[in-house]
């Protein structure tokens, strides 16, 4: 048993404490997220013009105006200035002191019509801030609770009959999180599975295999490699989570959108019962491929046979979203290679029956055990095939 842990530690250490793992494996997803978040901020920055806005009020609504609530970060506040005449406003606009001015005619309250004058494009954030200012003044004599409700609108929450699940119209993270978690797992699955396949091929290529198998049994060796590989994947996912959770915790007080982020217990259950065995299954299949091929490049071509079915649910997102309980969705949930992503995607869109979760989890566990057996067999038959590929027919042959 000790030898197995030596193999696990060797495998883990050999891949995790490398520059490649830190750069490609670990930093890739946080870097992508950082770039996306950076782009969002850049778009906000480019979209927000903080030059003041002006208005000329003939309706009397804004005679003694109240301020609108300050916009939420990352939006920046735009000062709103009153002008007595259109000529004065126009002069300020021409001088560049304001970016636009609104004219509220005398009959504004009866027909709701107003006009705006601007030279350059008037961006949405500034326009929205003026409308919020207008709404605040229209509702100034209303009960504050009603005023807030009118400004914030209604939140529709769809709830399951037993109350165990609910989805809010304002919190789309509930739909997205399981899907993103599924995709992150699959990415980790293939990047670490790739390490395992490469390690097995390298051990064949550099002839260390023959020494190893006269020291440890092929089954122990293969099990050690698969456990090591799974540990690498979990490390990767854990560190991705750290990279993602820290900014969420840091900014959740200033960004209300982040306050809605939470992971449902059922999503966690699916990650443990469906994704985890799927991880082991893919690792074992990658090891089996490594054992059958004679060089890494040849193995990469065979990986497509596994990766393609795994990504099928992602390609069928539209169909799954429009009908997450269709026979197609159920079929994909039961097939070992398509089940991981399908179940996670459906988790955000529908209420999954317990029997389906139990059945899928059982199928995944059986598939993982089968894949380990297959890997062990391919390894025993293919470990000393130097420069010659092992045929799958031989792997499945009786002896």
């Amino acid at each position: 048993m000790t030898k197995l842990w030596h193999v696990v530690w060797h495998e883990y250490r050999r891949h995790v404490f490398t520059r490649r793992f830190v750069l490609a494996g670990l930093m890739s997803v946080p870097l992508i997220i950082l770039v996306i978040v950076g782009l969002i901020f850049l778009i906000f920055a480019l979209d927000t013009n903080t030059t003041p806005l002006g208005y000329v009020d003939y309706s009397g609504l804004l005679a003694n105006p109240v301020s609108a609530p300050a916009p939420e970060w990352p939006d920046r506040s735009v000062q709103i200035l009153r002008f007595e005449t259109e000529a004065a406003a126009r002069s300020a606009l021409d001088a560049g002191r304001i970016q636009a001015y609104f004219i509220l005619p005398a009959d504004y309250l009866s027909n709701g019509r107003l006009s705006v004058v601007h030279l350059g494009a008037l961006k949405d954030p500034a326009r929205t801030q003026f409308y919020n200012f207008l709404t605040a003044n229209l509702l100034r004599n209303t009960d504050p609770l009603i005023a807030i409700r009118l400004v914030k609108g209604t939140e529709l929450v769809v709830q399951s009959p037993d109350g165990s699940r609910s989805i809010s119209s304002k919190n789309w993270f509930d739909v997205v999180i399981p899907m993103v978690a599924g995709i992150a797992f699959v990415i980790a699955m293939f990047s670490t599975g790739g390490y395992l396949m490469q390690a097995v091929v390298e051990e064949k290529e550099n002839r260390t295999m023959e020494v190893i198998i006269t020291s440890v049994s092929p089954n122990q060796f293969m099990a050690g490699k698969i456990i090591g590989d799974t540990a690498i994947g979990l490390t990767q996912i854990f560190l991705w989570m750290v990279f993602i959770v820290i900014p969420i915790l840091a900014f959740r007080n200033s960004m209300s959108i982040l306050r809605g982020i939470h992971i449902a217990p059922q999503t966690l259950l699916l990650l443990v019962c469906v994704m985890f065995p799927a991880f082991i299954m893919v690792s074992a299949l990658m090891a089996a491929i490594g054992a059958t091929v004679s060089e890494a490049r040849e193995g990469q071509q065979m990986v497509a046979m596994i990766s393609l079915p795994i990504w099928i649910p992602y390609m069928l997102t539209g169909l799954l979203m429009s009908n997450p309980n269709s026979p197609l969705a159920l079929g994909l949930s039961l097939f070992p290679l398509t089940a991981p992503l399908t179940m996670l995607m459906r988790d955000g869109l529908t209420i999954l029956p317990v029997w389906q979760i139990a059945l899928t989890a059982s199928i995944q566990v059986i598939s993982a055990v089968g894949a380990i057996w297959l890997a062990g067999r391919a390894f025993r038959l293919g470990m000393l095939r130097y420069g010659k590929r092992l045929k799958w027919r031989e792997v499945f042959a009786r002896n």
């Binding site: 000790t2 030898k3 030596h6 193999v7 060797h10 050999r14 390298e202 051990e203 550099n206 002839r207 260390t208 295999m209 023959e210 020494v211 190893i212 198998i213 006269t214 020291s215 440890v216 049994s217 000393l384 130097y386």
Partner: protein
């Protein structure tokens, strides 16, 4: 009880019979030679012995019975197709291979230090294996094989790729292990090395045992009917000598059937020939090997 015993072992790969009814034993503490030309079935015999391949028929006993996981810790195997993990430092590679033989990392480091010093590799222990020369990697492989102080050492072509200095170093190391009572199976096609180190041999060709036994007995068996004479005098015509053959400054006298070497010696002394050397001609292992293998090829 022998250290290794192969009894009527046969193993095929597809339609090719790699070894056919091979039997031999290796005694405890013996330095045993496993010989044969390339493709004769030597490595397959070793892999069957080590339980890497299952034989179709026959049985293997190693260190007193069938192979099991605990016995692996008492066997050191250096395969012909050598390899180490290329992208990790040498010492870490040795620690890993040693730990798979049941040693703790501290034990491996302690034992490796002496060997690394002896093989002039101490300065390279923190270097990645791929940064070492081929010869250095070869020596590192020898160290990895010996770290756990095996009872049975199986070395397949241990001198391949080594310069004369390192060949001598490995040879000395094998003799040292032999003196310490380690059973050694030396698999090679370099006959002079085997001749120098081994007492008993088995020669395999085309998967079959061609010769097996004590080396001197085998040489005697192939000695033919000749004597080698070294003298500064001219050799006169002698009764019972069919022909003379010059041989590296000496002369080989081929005797007629029924003529004893002692009769020839008596004749030479009687005719006052000053003898520097008189010995019964014994073939080298190289000559025996060629004769056996060529004979086998003719039969085939």
């Amino acid at each position: 009880m022998p250290a290794v015993g192969l009894t009527h072992i046969s193993k095929s790969f597809g339609s090719v019979k790699a070894i056919d009814d091979v039997s031999f034993t290796v005694e405890k503490g013996e330095l045993f030679g496993l010989l044969g030309p390339n493709g004769a079935g030597k490595t397959t015999s070793l892999r069957v012995m080590l339980d890497i391949f299952k034989p179709e028929s026959g049985s293997v006993a190693i260190l007193g019975g069938p192979m099991n996981e605990s016995k692996k810790d008492h066997i050191g195997y250096m395969p012909e197709e050598r390899g180490l993990y290329q992208d990790i430092p040498l010492e870490r590679c040795l620690v890993y291979l040693g730990s798979l033989k049941g040693l703790s990392p501290a034990e491996v480091k302690q034992r490796a230090a002496g060997y690394l010093e002896r093989f002039d590799l101490a300065a390279y222990k923190t270097k990645k294996v791929k940064e070492l020369s081929k010869g250095m990697q070869q020596k590192a492989q020898v160290i990895a094989t010996l770290l756990h102080q095996p009872e049975l050492l199986i070395v397949d072509e241990p001198f391949g790729g080594l310069d004369p200095l390192n060949t001598q170093m490995v040879k000395d190391l094998l003799l040292e292990q032999h003196q310490q009572g380690v059973t050694i199976i030396l698999c090679s096609h370099q006959m002079h090395q085997v001749e120098e180190l081994c007492d008993r041999i088995v020669l395999i060709d085309h998967g079959k045992v061609m010769l097996y036994g004590v080396l001197n007995d085998i040489r005697r068996q192939f000695s033919g009917h000749a004597v080698t004479v070294r003298t500064s005098d001219k050799i006169p015509p002698l009764k019972g000598v069919e022909r003379l053959e010059p041989l590296n400054g000496a002369v080989k006298l081929h005797l007629s059937p029924g003529t004893e070497p002692q009769e020839v010696l008596r004749s030479l002394v009687a005719q006052n020939v000053n003898l520097d050397q008189f010995e019964i001609s014994m073939p080298t292992l190289d000559e025996i090997f060629i004769r056996v293998v060529q004979g086998q090829a003719e039969v085939a």
